[in-house]
């Protein structure tokens, strides 16, 4: 476990740390079930990290802790030098589904986090900013349409805007494009990279897809179940910006094979 922690720091590119987890664990049912054990990781400013693992490896528990939805049983969770003790404004979240509300227009959906925290007036004032975000994600002209008229990919673009409107310090992405078809998904991943780069965002992705993790990330955390833990930290030293063409390079193939091997070992144990 200490080795894993040391490895994390080794793999992390130099930069200002934004989000730090130290020895975080979570147990359920009066310590009978260990969902997560000794997870340590550091997200630096502008970095993209991914966590990959089979079902039940604790990655959703990890994400819930990082988003402030549930408290950890052990360890320290610190975002921007302040411990995370609940949902916070500087945490942006994206889910597998776009979760847009059908009775609100796209624009009204995007300013919803502002409306919740600062009221209707502030939400109104944030509309200019929301329009700029819509332009950034390529949804200009869809301000007043309702979500039922958006395709799956467009809906996820809108939910990216809603995540960015509060200018969060960290973006937590919970399999954001896994409900989309593969072509759209590849395209959206490249869009995600472009958006993250343009805003120098710090992002943390949970995914089931090794390819997706490798093509997007600077660091991939491989998680294993029983108990849920980080088993390996794989730095991805492909050049940036990443392109879909890179997926056919030998280097990419090696990285994918390596991670697949690390995951498989657990599956047959």
């Amino acid at each position: 476990m200490q080795a894993a922690a040391a490895l994390t720091d080794l793999a992390t590119p130099v930069g200002e740390p934004v989000y730090q987890l130290r020895n975080v664990g979570k147990t359920y049912a009066r310590n009978a079930i260990v969902a997560l054990e000794g997870v340590s990781l550091t997200l630096t400013k502008g970095s993209f990290s991914a966590v990959i693992g089979s079902s039940g490896c604790g990655k959703s528990t990890l994400l819930k802790i990082m988003s402030g939805l549930i408290p950890p049983s052990t360890g320290r969770v610190v975002l921007q030098n302040r411990p995370v003790t609940g949902p916070r404004r500087d945490i942006g979240m994206m889910f597998q589904q776009a979760v847009l509300f059908p009775w609100r227009t796209t624009l009204e959906n995007i300013v919803l986090p502002i409306e919740i925290r600062d009221g209707k007036g502030a939400a109104k004032a944030a509309e200019t900013q929301a329009r700029e975000l819509l332009e950034l994600v390529g949804l200009k002209g869809f301000e007043n349409t309702y979500p039922s008229e958006l395709s799956g990919g467009m809906a996820q673009r809108a939910s990216i805007c809603r995540m960015l409107i509060t200018e969060p310090a960290v973006l937590l992405l919970d399999e954001p494009f896994s409900a989309l078809d593969e072509l759209t998904r590849d395209f959206m991943n490249m869009e995600l990279q472009r958006i993250c780069t343009s805003r120098n965002a710090t992002a943390f992705l949970v995914t089931h897809s090794i390819q997706e993790a490798v093509i997007l990330s600077d660091v991939v955390y491989v998680m294993k179940p029983r108990p849920g833990r980080v088993a390996e930290v794989v730095p991805i030293d492909l050049p940036r910006p990443r392109t879909l063409d890179m997926m056919t390079t030998p280097k990419f193939g090696e990285l994918v094979e390596h991670i697949r091997g690390a995951l498989d070992k657990e599956a047959f144990k």
Partner: protein, 288 residues
């Protein structure tokens, strides 16, 4: 490119197209209005035959024509402000106040039961228990408590209509998926905000389903109240006509009542379309 085209040209599809149409019954291609008219005509024809050949006594079942004439008579009476108009007005008032009361109580109780754990655990079982009782049987009690006036009818109408609204509201509040709940949590929304901005809007389709069922029940409640508790409403006119064996009158009064019931149902549906424009209903005639 030319190579590709030549391959396409040689394919059998280019030579003879296999265009075909799906078979549909000729009956399905007839416009809906004509289909409905057809059923109506067949119904009236059967009705006419049954009475014409004396299969059923005319005292029990009037002919369609007799019923039609009486419909016109009642319509004239109502239009000219005859004695039936105040009766209709009383029944309308009972339905209106009954529905208003049912909405207020049903919605409030529905929110309490659907939103709070206490409501769901401690109050819901009692509501279910009362809902299984034959509510019409409470009519004599309402008369005893509230008298023979409009109040006892309003109470019975509201009593019948409240439960579907409670159930609709409570079930609707459970409609919110875990993603929506988590999103609101991560946005730091209070319980009140979550209820107002997410759960209640999401509950609206089911609330309206409850309101529609309630709108049907409220009419039944008002008329039953008048049957069992007297008064001067339309139900009383029906009862009087029935005791005089004036069956055409009974039929035409029922038809006018059904127009009111249909109107209320249509009004609720219209409000639903205005407020829940974002929800695609699967069944056009309402229901679930």
């Amino acid at each position: 490119m030319s190579n590709l085209e030549s391959i396409a040209d040689r394919s059998p599809a280019a030579e003879d197209d296999t265009v075909w149409t799906e078979e549909t019954s000729w009956l399905d291609r007839v416009p809906r209005a004509i289909q409905m008219l057809f059923v109506f005509v067949v119904f009236v024809l059967l009705w006419d035959l049954v009475t014409r050949f004396g299969l059923v006594s005319r005292i029990i079942l009037p002919t369609p024509l007799e019923t039609f004439y009486d419909l016109i008579f009642v319509g004239k009476n109502l239009a000219s402000g005859g004695y039936m108009l105040p009766a209709l007005w009383i029944t309308l008032k009972e339905v209106f106040y009954g529905f208003l009361l049912a909405m207020a109580i049903g919605f409030s109780l529905g929110v309490i039961v659907g939103e709070t754990a206490f409501g769901e655990r401690a109050i819901m079982p009692y509501l279910v228990a009362i809902d299984t009782m034959p509510k019409v049987a409470f009519a004599p009690l309402f008369v005893a408590w509230l008298g023979f006036g409009i109040e006892s009818k309003v109470a019975l109408a509201a009593f019948i209509a409240t439960f579907p609204i409670i159930v609709g509201t409570a079930a609707g509040l459970h409609a919110a998926d875990s993603n929506s709940r988590n999103l609101f949590k991560t946005m730091g929304a209070s319980r009140w905000q979550t209820l107002l901005k997410m759960k209640l809007p999401m509950a609206l389709p089911q609330v309206f389903t409850g309101l529609k069922i309630g709108s049907v029940g409220v009419m039944a409640g008002a008329i039953t109240g008048e049957f069992l508790g007297g008064g001067k409403g339309f139900g009383e006119l029906i009862r009087t006509a029935a005791s005089q064996l004036n069956t055409p009158r009974v039929f035409s009064l029922i038809l006018y009542l059904s127009v009111i019931g249909l109107g209320l149902f249509a009004f609720v549906s219209w409000v639903q379309r205005r407020f829940v424009f974002w929800h695609k209903e699967r069944v056009s005639a309402g229901g679930e």
